[in-house]
């Protein structure tokens, strides 16, 4: 609508239509961008800055860019050198995984994406989904590790995207239920359980993730008997789970405290026992309340998996860095990091988008 609709002057008082809100592009700009001298100046300044940056970025990233060239050609050109990615894509994505076997981690990642894609739809939240997951996990493990006729690949050479996804997906799915249990423990009337939960949560939250990763890789093996080794990835994985769970626990506790006392009482007065009341009445509501902050924690935990570089695991970020130490490709870090950032962003955006959708779907108030 380009013109403003005139509201009829006198209509029956009981059925007046709401005033028109859509007032056209020019009207919108006047109302939002140029309503007063301060806003007008700000609009002009921002517009100028955009004009300064956007065209040159487009020129660098697309018009003058090199996509499938050698590094020499890149250095001669003036645009972005995306060749650093296309030439090294297999190392960035799969690290030191044996070259001719890289179809296996690729397939594993595709299986995982497929599983996640189906799991996000509440229509499929049935028992059969759990079996599908078990099957999927088994085949992913088989693909990565080998066995049953597939050539065995030592976990030391796992790296890149599969490692990042492995650490995140397992870390988050294991940390969430553990965090819920800790939150319930902290609310418990039983002193031993309660104090264990409190001490655990406060201890873990008082320590940075990096130091936990260090402990898992340096300190923890000191306590093991000689000759016993413990997979390094697994140790990092456990550290991530333990760490994330403590944060989840506090968020979930907030949700539990936000619950109306009456819900507990109604559940009790029906004769539900503690576990039934929690599972059927309290947690479904409390967890729904804390979807946004939980997702915040899950997203930051996902990004924090990149900290495993400090214990020399080659996750996605580390393989990218390693590529850049190659003298041939040195100096193209902007392109490489933009690419990694894009991968992280796609994952995080999908997560936050999903949380918003879930919230809407679970809303029963209307």
């Amino acid at each position: 609508m380009a013109t403003m609709e005139k509201t009829p002057h006198r209509k029956a008082a009981n059925s007046i239509r709401p005033p028109a809100t859509s007032i056209g592009v020019i009207g919108w700009m006047r109302a939002n961008l140029f309503n007063g001298w301060l806003n007008s100046i700000l609009t002009l300044v921002v517009g100028y800055l955009l004009l300064l940056t956007i065209p040159s970025f487009v020129k660098w990233a697309f018009i003058n860019s090199n996509w499938f060239t050698t590094s020499e050609q890149c250095k001669a050109g003036s645009g972005a050198c995306w060749s650093v990615i296309t030439a090294n894509i297999r190392f960035i994505l799969f690290g030191f995984y044996p070259h001719q076997l890289q179809w296996r981690p690729l397939l594993a990642v595709l299986i995982l994406i497929l599983l996640l894609f189906f799991s996000q739809n509440r229509k499929y939240w049935k028992k059969s989904l759990a079996y599908v997951w078990l099957l999927g996990l088994f085949s992913m493990g088989l693909l990565l590790k080998g066995g049953l006729g597939l050539e065995v690949v030592d976990s030391d050479s796992w790296g890149g995207l599969p490692l990042t996804l492995l650490l995140s997906v397992f870390g988050l799915t294991a940390a969430y239920p553990f965090g819920v249990i800790l939150a319930l423990g902290r609310q418990s009337d039983m002193p031993v359980i309660k104090s264990f939960s409190v001490v655990y949560i406060e201890l873990i939250r008082g320590v940075p993730l990096i130091s936990m990763l260090f402990m898992s890789s340096v300190v923890f093996p000191l306590f093991l008997p000689e000759g016993v080794t413990f997979n390094k990835i697994l140790r990092a994985q456990i550290a991530i789970i333990l760490f994330t769970a403590a944060y989840i626990a506090e968020v979930v506790r907030g949700g539990l405290q936000g619950m109306n006392r009456g819900q507990y009482e109604a559940a009790e007065s029906l004769g539900l026992n503690y576990f039934q009341a929690m599972r059927l009445i309290i947690l479904p509501q409390a967890l729904k309340i804390v979807i946004p902050p939980s997702m915040g924690i899950l997203i930051s935990a996902f990004k924090d998996t990149s900290l495993v570089v400090i214990i020399a695991l080659y996750d996605l970020l580390k393989t990218t860095q390693t590529t850049l130490t190659d003298p041939k490709w040195m100096g193209f870090s902007a392109e490489a990091y933009l690419f990694v950032a894009l991968i992280y962003f796609v994952c995080c955006y999908a997560m936050s988008n999903y949380s918003r959708r879930l919230e809407k779907e679970l809303d029963t108030s209307l």
């Binding site: 009456g262 007065s269 539900l272 479904p284 509501q285």
Partner: protein, 256 residues
Amino acid sequence: MNPQAAGQKNVDKTPIITIENMHKWYGEFHVLKDVNLTVDRGERIVICGPSGSGKSTLIRCINRLEEHQRGRIVVDGTELTNDLKNIEKIRTEVGMVFQHFNLFPHLTILENLTLGPIWVRKTPKKEAEERAMYYLEKVRIAEQAKKFPNQLSGGQQQRVAIARSLCMKPNVMLFDEPTSALDPEMVKEVLDVMISLAQDGMTMLVVSHEMGFAKSVAHRVLFMDGGEILEQNTPEEFFNYPQHDRTKLFLSQILD
């Protein structure tokens, strides 16, 4: 409602609830002082009194939403102790209706009603749903079965809450100020449901200031103040010839 019919106790004279010398404290505060009460099967009691007199606490002790510290409470032959088994058994037999309904907002009306029977009584789902629909018919709200609680009015929610309790087939129903959170025009629909429940012979303990309801349905009216049962009598005697000064004062304030 015929007061005469209501006045008849269709009762075998065994008490279903016995409370003996019961005391309760909140910290230092003595909320219930030496309460003695016997409720017969089929008896209907209305408990009134000023706010803070302990009337809600009293009925909440009967299904252990509050714990008493001294004395005995026996419900249908089972004494309330710290034994969780006993507590859960008593809770399945005692229905409770709250001031603020406390329906489960994440479940549909039908699921609200079938939850207890399915999980506590282990009733097959189909049977539980049939029973739920029966009671929803009874409180005249069956057409809302697929909706969520927040989509219903207060009066409708309270009727659902009553139906939810009835689905557990309780022997006793406790009502904690069931109409005091309702808009005035919705009070009647809830009271009507309660009256029809009374006509079916349900044992009821009702904390309420609905004096009309008390007059037409109750066998006995209790007046509580300061944590004690000060006076109890049939409704006619209670309203026409209150004994205690505090009762007179309370009635004069409430009947204005």
